[in-house]
């Protein structure tokens, strides 16, 4: 079958058209998108790429969670939940308002003026007795009582103005809500290890063996009972807290 006559009459491809189209396709190629890139990957490679991206995002999110402190409300108190990686307490934003009977007055040095005599605990664990309070003074806390045993293990009770932002702090999992006389209280297990005199710049890990800190609100103040080792049981500390007598002249507005 002679088909030559058909081929002969077919118009040639216009060179300007061929070049223009080629240039257009080449330009499109240079704009290859991420979608096109992903299309060229195998299913496994797509999963791997997705896993890498998710890992990066998760790591970033976890880093934020780990490094960021936050306020946790427990009853009428706030606890600053801090990072395990750093002891710097820097929760974002101002502390939430705490409902209190009112602000405690301060003197010309900015120290709190306690216009009442905080009560002392009526029950003391066996072997402990009251000792003299060292002559220490801070702007925010007032030591009410100090008890010690024969092994020189100590229990301390202090108060701070509830509304002045000195919140207890602990890493996640190292605190719990307990009840003192039927009201919510914060029990912290342990504390940061003391700064080493040999290497003061070294990291200070959290240790659960360094006692309890039990905090509860009362009359515009936050009471805290603390121990410094494993010599006292949690139940004993709560019993001691519940035996604290009400202030003789409660502060009021």
């Amino acid at each position: 079958m002679n088909e030559e006559f058909i081929i002969k009459v077919l118009p040639p491809v216009p060179p300007r058209f061929a070049k223009a189209l080629y240039d257009r396709l080449a330009a499109d190629h240079s704009r290859a998108s991420l979608k096109m890139f992903l299309r060229h990957l195998t299913i496994r490679e797509r999963w791997q790429a997705t896993a890498i991206v998710l890992t990066i995002l998760l790591t970033a999110a976890c880093t934020q969670i780990i490094l960021r402190s936050r306020y946790v409300r427990i009853g009428d108190l706030f606890l600053v939940e801090i990072s395990r990686l750093t002891e710097l307490v820097n929760p974002g934003g101002a502390a939430p308002a705490i409902p209190t009977p009112g602000q405690l007055p301060i003197n010309e040095y900015g120290w709190t003026v306690w216009e009442f005599s905080p009560g002392s605990p009526k029950w003391i664990p066996d072997g402990f007795s009251s000792i003299d309070i060292p002559s220490e003074m801070t702007a925010y806390e007032q030591t009410i009582g100090l008890w010690s045993n024969m092994s020189n293990e100590r229990i301390r009770l202090y108060i701070v103005p509830q509304a002045e932002g000195m919140h207890p702090f602990a890493p996640p999992g190292e605190y719990e809500e307990v009840s003192v006389s039927g009201n919510p209280a914060i029990l912290i297990h342990g504390r940061y290890t003391p700064t080493s005199s040999e290497s003061p710049q070294s990291e200070r890990p959290w240790s659960e063996d360094l006692g309890f800190q039990l905090s509860w609100p009362s009359h515009g103040s936050m009471y805290t009972l603390e121990t410094f080792g494993t010599y006292l049981a949690q139940a004993e500390l709560i019993r001691m807290a519940e035996s604290v007598a009400p202030p003789e002249r409660p502060f009021s507005q």
């Binding site: 002969k8 299309r39 060229h40």
Partner: protein, 177 residues
């Protein structure tokens, strides 16, 4: 690497296995001529050819070697494009054979060639759509009888027979040797 991975790798690498420069050089005239014979209008053929290559380029990752050759895949796109074209324009034959041809060769030969193509196009214009498609796939796209049979759901013998009759008739009508 398991079988699924291998298959996926093959699918993904099929894009890079196609030599686009060579494919473009070889297939551009064939696609263009297919549309020339299909529409009878070289200008329209340019637009449709461009559409085919642009679609093929954008969808190159979908080309699968295991399903056939690249040219078959490309002409599959071309056939879709021409169907869409006629569906949109609803002018199957209105422009057939009335267009300027070979405007890149402004010579006496070119004028003769344009006239000859116009005569061919006018013959094709009166053919049933299916026969015109058959003719365009054979002499424009230059597909094998087997590929045409597969594309049009015919037997190879049937393709051969119909083509023989068509060419004989057109040759007689055009007075060609």
């Amino acid at each position: 690497m398991n079988a699924a991975d291998t298959a996926e790798r093959a699918r993904a690498s099929s894009v890079s296995e196609v030599d686009w420069v060579s494919a473009y050089s070889e297939l551009l005239p064939r696609v263009y001529h297919y549309f020339c014979l299909r529409t009878g209008d070289p200008s329209e053929a340019e637009d449709l050819t461009a559409t085919v290559f642009e679609r093929a380029w954008r969808g190159r990752s979908r080309f699968r070697h295991d399903l056939g050759t690249f040219s078959a895949w490309l002409f599959g796109i071309a056939r879709h494009v021409v169907v869409e074209h006629y569906r949109q324009s609803k002018t199957n034959t209105s422009n057939f054979g009335n267009q300027d041809v070979g405007h890149s060769r402004p010579t006496e030969d070119a004028a003769e060639q344009r006239e000859a193509f116009a005569r061919l196009a006018s013959r094709l214009a009166v053919l049933p759509k299916r026969q015109r498609e058959l003719f365009a796939l054979k002499y424009g796209a230059r597909l094998s009888n087997r590929a045409i049979a597969s594309a049009l759901n015919m037997t190879e013998t049937n393709v051969s027979t119909v083509l023989h009759r068509l060419v004989t008739r057109i040759r007689e009508e055009m007075g060609a040797k």
